[in-house]
Subunit: 300 residues, 2 copies
């Protein structure tokens, strides 16, 4: 059972939903339309000690920052503006007040700088620290950027450079390690993609571009041809850039002819290929099939 | 560090919130007003293997049912109508497809019967199964039932009978055990309290009336005098009824003079006391101070 099969299973088991759900399971976030006005997007992300972070190497404020950053990265990928979050936290026996304070300080630092209100949550205990953050953002009705909107002929772009997080996780020092610990959700870029570039699809890179782009292509029913160029973080390997997760950059597609600036707010925007007709979800890189080796919790 | 101190700490650390938040940390659910129209209420609840359920004694469908029931019970306590939920689930190594199917079947059974759409979530892995459910409900603007609305002179009621879940957890058989495994959120009652009785405050009983009523009194700035009568589940002890958690009945207050029916939809509504002036949060039972011995994750 891999994650994809599991998502399909849950999608099937939850079929036949209530009205108001504009977009349900399977995208970066779900969209619910409560009434006239804006659409709210919701996303939820778990962080588990020993899986997503280590007690020894991750400061509590880094854990708090990252717990929210993951959700806000999904909000950014929808082209939405953050509204609020809820945080569920199961504490381990070793957690003291200092750890809890540090966690929420890190989380609230990012929350405040992005206009995200923490409006609730749940507290529990467990053997290992486990945290789940729900983030909600808003977009004008019907304008959320989805994974499924890419069309044959669209150009594929990524923001920033890739592989920093995987490199940081390996070397555990310097700027790459800080990028791993403190990812910055690309919120301003997400709004720019929606409002100005009118991107046809967007997604955040949490599990590696090889796997994430496959997901985007599957949802859009297209194949991707990557030309073999890739903005690689200085010092990172090609494999880290292709398959390393947690870069939290955005991958997006635009219609041919769209003028995409070389950078936005200091963040490079690079064209890495285009959408083509073919087996939905298949991705080639420099003419060869690209294996989706990105991170999957359930792959055996 | 107990749960109350922890909540206060988080409340302090998250002070200074964004607009739109009608009600934040500290109630059964948070309220966000996205635009004109309805208020949405959000609540999130974790379920941890070995803490909230055991692999051997709880069927996966029971775990799924309960995971959502806890959130919907909070939605009911706000007087809201369920809209949607998001489910984050970390699976343990022992979880197979059957367990996952059973979990979602149990959850979706309750979701469908209550009109709750499952619109998203997250999947992860951990040593122990850990699940976090976000439930969202809607109420007319400004009408959510809060914990903080009780006034001196108000009468205190509880629905149903208390102690069934604690009794079930002990004897592990019969109707009491089923009540423990499959709590029914009191959604119809919640709407009735809001629309018809105009309850001044309401809360669901998840940690025991002794502790939960103290929380309600603290929020309302009043004291409670319980007359010593209590609707006790057949076979349960007084201690189980007072301090046993997870009954998921509603405790609510109404202004003096409000006509409360003896039952609603087959569910008994019993007056158990009244709000009085006094130390906020203090509760007496039959003339004696009542210790808040209900469940607290963090009490040493």
């Amino acid at each position: 059972m891999d994650e994809r099969a599991l998502v399909r299973r849950i999608k099937r088991l939850s079929a036949g939903q209530a009205p108001g759900v504009v977009l349900g399971i399977g995208d970066d976030a779900a969209v619910f339309r409560p009434a006239d006005g804006e659409d709210l997007v919701f996303t939820t992300d778990m962080l588990v000690e020993g899986v997503h972070f280590e007690r020894d190497s991750h400061r509590p404020s880094d854990v708090g920052h990252k717990a929210l950053a993951r959700g806000l990265s999904d909000v950014a990928a929808m082209g939405a503006v953050p509204r609020f979050c809820l945080v569920s936290l199961a504490l381990a026996p070793w957690c003291g007040e200092r750890w809890v304070d540090g966690f929420y300080r890190g989380l609230m630092g990012l929350a405040r700088s992005t206009g995200t209100a923490l409006i609730g949550g749940d507290l529990s205990h467990s053997d290992k620290v486990t945290c789940d953050v729900v983030a909600c953002g808003a977009v004008p009705c019907g304008e959320a950027l989805r994974r499924g909107g890419a069309r044959v002929g669209d150009l594929i772009f990524v923001s920033g450079s890739l592989g920093a997080s995987a490199l940081g996780l390996k070397c555990r020092k310097g700027a790459a390690w800080r990028r791993h610990l403190r990812p910055e959700p690309r919120l301003a870029l997400g709004s720019f993609l929606r409002e100005t570039l009118r991107a046809t699809a967007a997604m955040d890179l949490s599990d590696g571009v090889s796997l994430d782009l496959r997901r985007l292509c599957e949802e859009s029913g297209v194949a991707a041809e990557l030309d073999g160029s890739l903005p690689i973080y200085p010092g990172a390997t090609v494999a880290q850039a292709l398959h390393g997760g947690e870069d939290y950059e955005l991958v997006f597609t635009v219609s041919r002819g769209t003028v995409v600036p070389a950078e936005f707010g200091g963040l490079a925007l690079n064209c890495i290929g285009r959408m083509v007709a073919g087996k939905p979800g298949s991705v080639s890189w420099g003419g060869q099939p690209l294996a989706a080796l990105g991170y999957d919790h359930f792959r055996k």
